[in-house]
């Protein structure tokens, strides 16, 4: 065994600090743990929802009861007691905050500490933020500016009340409550999330961003995001998330639905940094998410970019249904696992539209005792002529106790399709490490450099505002674990 290897293993053992692991001391209203029809009604009532929304929730809840817990992923998921989770937690407040004065200063401080200032004057220019703590949206910035363009950016709770027609039209149209176990659960109990509507022909002038924060203990977060880009619209949307370090496991089961109309384009970027648990795998967030976009319009485009560094267990496949002629789906992913983390992530590209194209680039990095899987589906429907897909998924192994796995499913039902899949798995190159060493770069740092280079293709796809943050996060994550 070479010296470098020993070093890597040593480094992998490190327990890094998770700088977002603090807890905000704030009065929080938490409903007692447990899930029943009563709880679903209570959530709906607390949110002052109309009848149709309650019906939607109840239907989903009843369907959820009939489903078994999914077990197909390459994950070792401990039994989750769904009755031990509280399904609603909200920082106490009078009404939904309209002006900043009404927002609890403790909350503002929390988001400040997370690097998300919510005061308009301090707010990041070029980025509008919806901040969600536990079950409710705390504050959405830059709303007036966006409203001038006809863009709706608000919490989904508000949207249900203020834009019921839009919500009714699109909610559940991409991810039905019957889609899967966690989608049904989310549809029954979802608390808050963001709603975005970009009207015809409008290019959203700034990045829209939602920041999710789990704060209360013993709760789960079930947010719901709905993004609609009407004909010829464009929006770039970012999502970030953190949670306190706790010994318990917290459940996060979100749904993101995106509808892309004719010639519209949506870029959805995620930097997922939920608490990952400690070195021994105690605590951390279970991140079971259903994200899907429907490229309904001709020549529409949806691009997913994700940097996954957090969560104890990740189960997530941001997907594109490419129904429009000439529609384009993209998926760029970097997933880093270390310690005892497990990730089963990838994408689905469902080609039903003629001449639709998709590109998948997935970079997995496993360290410590973690397990990192890519799972992807490329499907070409019988009537989809001229489909092109290119998939590349690479795995990098750091240390001999981790695992990297690849499960692509390729179904081609049309003879005019060209579908290509390439995957490689290898350890970090010893030649590259030695080269760096020879130039005086210590192994730790060299590993960081090489991994960053390896992930660059994906990192480059992130919007500027996020790229810096993501790069920092990646090297921070790896600093603790490799270098």
């Amino acid at each position: 065994m070479s010296k470098e290897e020993v070093k890597i293993d040593d480094v992998v053992g490190h327990d890094d600090e998770y700088k977002y692991g603090f807890v905000t001391d704030i009065d929080t209203e938490i409903i007692p743990p447990g899930l029943s029809e009563e709880v679903v009604r209570l959530i709906s009532k607390k949110k002052g929802e109309p009848e149709w929304m309650l019906d939607f929730r109840l239907k989903a809840y009843r369907y959820w009861l009939t489903l078994p817990v999914p077990r197909w992923a390459h994950l070792d998921i401990p039994e989750i007691d769904f009755q031990a989770i509280s399904y609603y937690a909200a920082p106490t407040k009078k009404e939904g905050p309209k002006s900043l004065d009404e927002v609890d200063p403790e909350l503002l401080k929390t988001f400040d500490r997370l690097g998300i200032p919510l005061e308009e004057q301090k707010a990041l220019s070029g980025m509008a933020v919806d901040a969600v703590m536990d079950s409710v949206s705390v504050k959405t910035t830059h709303r007036t500016l966006l409203a001038e363009k006809g863009i709706i950016f608000c919490s989904i709770s508000e949207a249900i009340k203020e834009y019921p027609d839009l919500v009714k039209k699109y909610l559940g149209s991409v991810v039905s409550y019957r889609d899967n176990f966690y989608a049904a659960l989310n549809s029954a109990v979802f608390s808050d999330g963001s709603f975005v509507y970009i009207p015809k022909g409008v290019r959203c002038p700034m990045e829209l961003s939602t920041y999710f924060r789990i704060n209360a203990s013993g709760t789960g977060q079930f947010e719901r995001t709905l993004i609609v880009a009407d004909d010829d619209a464009y929006v770039s949307y970012l999502e970030g998330c953190t949670a306190p370090s706790r010994d318990e496991n917290q459940l996060h089961a979100a749904i993101v639905e995106i509808v892309v109309e004719n010639r519209a384009e949506v870029k959805y970027s995620t930097v997922q940094n939920w608490y990952a648990g400690d070195k021994e795998g105690r605590g951390g967030v279970y991140n079971f998410v259903t994200k899907r976009g429907l490229c309904r319009g001709d020549f529409s485009k949806l691009s997913w970019t994700q940097v996954e560094t957090g969560s104890a267990i990740t189960w997530k496949y941001p997907s594109c249904v490419l129904a429009g002629e000439g529609s384009v789906g993209e998926f760029y992913s970097v997933a880093v696992t270390k310690n005892r983390q497990q990730a089963d992530t990838g994408t689905k590209m469902i080609h039903t539209g003629k001449n639709s194209r998709s590109t998948i680039v997935s970079k997995g990095i496993s360290a410590g005792h973690s397990q990192n899987s890519y799972r992807g589906l490329v499907k070409v429907a019988p009537n989809a002529e001229g489909v092109r897909n290119y998939t590349q998924c690479d795995s990098l192994l750091l240390g001999s106790n981790c695992g990297a796995h690849t499960f692509p499913y390729i179904d081609v039902m049309n003879d005019s399709a060209v579908v290509e899949h390439e995957a490689t798995t290898s350890k970090i190159s010893e030649e590259q490490l030695f080269y760096c060493n020879q130039r005086g770069i210590p192994t730790e740092e060299a590993v960081g450099l090489i991994v960053n280079g390896y992930a660059k293709e994906v990192m480059n796809k992130l919007p500027m505002e996020f790229a810096v943050e993501a790069q920092r996060l990646l090297s921070l994550t790896l600093e603790g674990s490799v270098g």
Binding site: Y409, D411, H421, T424
Partner: protein
């Protein structure tokens, strides 16, 4: 209804007959098999089972096939009508009709010392320790598909190569279906290459009539002991009404070499499982497959290649050309076990869809639990190169001809990897005829392969 039931009933009703017409070594497998199959919820894999999405093995076994449990001599002597289709290949030939082993004179007269090719029943009388040591030890007897084979198997084939013996001439085994009623053949094959030995095997599956349904259920176990070399080529030229569920299991000792090539030229519905476990250090494994689908043929290959040791390399290449409304499926899993170091494993699946209605399903997978690896897999599904077709047309080659040439060229790298002398040429010819739409049956063969009857043999 669970199709297992009819076979369990058959077994229970005829237990004595089956056991009497078989041998103690084979009978010994049945106890475990029965336990496995009688277990609550035991069933053959179907479309809901992971890995069997495209071939419902349970449905394959559902029809009421006749099983020759009594070892009745079959009404037609197929050896009289059979002529070998590989005349340019010089082999030692044996026939297996259903599950009955019939050697030819050439085989009996020319088998080198140390090489045994005989029926499994014979072998379990003449070399019981060897058979016992390997039979049922390489295959996963806890899988329903294998257990069913063990439960009903009456006889089969044994190939044994003694330590240090190099069998120069390839041994050819021709499996034949030729009965007037729907029949299921329960076949068991055991190949043992002792240390530092080498052997080449050619299996040919033939169905001689296309008006009857057949089901071919076979389990092949291959032991490649330390330093040994085994080369297996398995060619299926059956009929549109032949169903095949073939399960190959291999294990490899230190520094051994194994090469398996599976070829599907004519068939109905085929599912081949290749379970290759590399347990010795320094092994080399090559696993190739080729499938040509026409009409409503269905070809489904599944490979599981386990690297559980150090310094091994494996290569897999599977190619499909699918025409008409044929269906192809390939699922390949490479696993590098924890602690298995310095392994290189490559897998590639390339497919051409030549018609609107053809379908291809591909699932290459990697499960890697160690960082000292170099692994890759690739899969492509596409069409013939239109630029190449135009280039050929410009030189005067008619479009159809150009397409045929390109399809054939697509298969060349697999054909050329076949190491049995003369077989590459023969395969090239068969593939060409297949692409030209002339089904490759043995009409033009002039070789004489006169078998001896069972009686002569004894």
């Amino acid at each position: 209804m669970n199709p297992l039931k009819q076979y369990l009933d058959l077994y229970r009703e005829n237990r004595e007959t089956i056991e009497q017409s078989s041998t103690p070594v084979l009978n010994a497998l049945r106890t475990n098999a029965l336990t496995v199959l009688e277990k609550e919820g035991s069933r053959l894999p179907g479309k809901c089972d992971e890995g069997y999405e495209k071939t419902a093995v349970d449905e394959m076994f559902a029809p009421d096939y006749g099983v020759n449990i009594n070892g009745v001599k079959l009404p037609v002597d197929p050896s009289l009508t059979f002529k070998c289709d590989v005349p340019s290949v010089s082999t030692l030939l044996a026939l297996v009709v259903g599950d009955t082993f019939i050697p030819t004179r050439t085989l009996l007269n020319n088998l080198p010392a140390g090489v045994t090719v005989t029926s499994l029943a014979d072998a379990s009388r003449t070399m019981p320790e060897t058979v016992e040591k390997f039979l049922g030890k390489i295959a996963n007897e806890d899988e329903a598909g294998v257990a069913l084979n063990s439960l009903l198997v009456r006889d089969g084939l044994m190939v044994h190569v003694a330590e240090g013996v190099k069998a120069e001439k390839p041994i050819q085994i021709v499996n034949i279906f030729n009965t007037p009623v729907p029949t299921m053949a329960v076949r068991r094959v055991l190949v043992v290459a002792e240390e530092n030995s080498s052997v080449k095997l050619l299996f040919c599956d033939h169905t001689q009539r296309d008006d009857t349904d057949y089901l071919d259920s076979q389990v092949i176990e291959v032991a490649v002991e330390a330093g040994a070399e085994v080369d297996i080529c398995d060619i299926e030229e059956s009929s549109p009404r032949t169903h095949r569920f073939s399960q190959l299991f291999t294990k490899q000792g230190n520094d051994s070499k194994l090469k398996v090539t599976g070829v599907t030229l004519v068939n109905g519905e085929t599912r081949n499982n290749f379970t290759v476990k590399v347990e010795g250090n320094g092994c080399d494994t090559r696993l190739d497959g080729m499938a040509i689908g026409k009409a409503s043929q269905s070809i489904d290959n599944r490979t599981y290649l386990l690297h559980a040791s150090d310094h091994c390399s494996s290569n897999q290449l599977f190619k499909y050309v699918l025409d008409d409304s044929s269906r192809g499926a390939f699922e390949g899993l490479i696993e590098v076990a924890k602690g298995a170091r310095f392994n290189e494993a490559y897998q590639s699946n390339r497919n051409i869809l030549a018609s609107k209605a053809a379908r291809m399903h591909t699932k290459p997978q990697l499960l890697i639990y160690n960082d000292d690896v170099k692994c890759s897999h690739g899969a492509t599904t596409g069409q013939l190169d239109e630029r190449a077709i135009f280039y050929m047309q410009q030189r005067g080659i008619p479009q159809n001809e150009a397409r045929t040439m390109l399809m054939q060229a697509f298969m060349v790298d697999i054909i050329e990897k076949v190491s049995i002398e003369g077989l590459s040429d023969r395969l090239r010819h068969l593939v060409e005829r297949r692409f030209r739409g002339e089904d490759a049956l043995c009409g033009d063969c002039s070789a004489s392969c006169t078998p001896v009857t069972k009686k002569d043999n004894l």
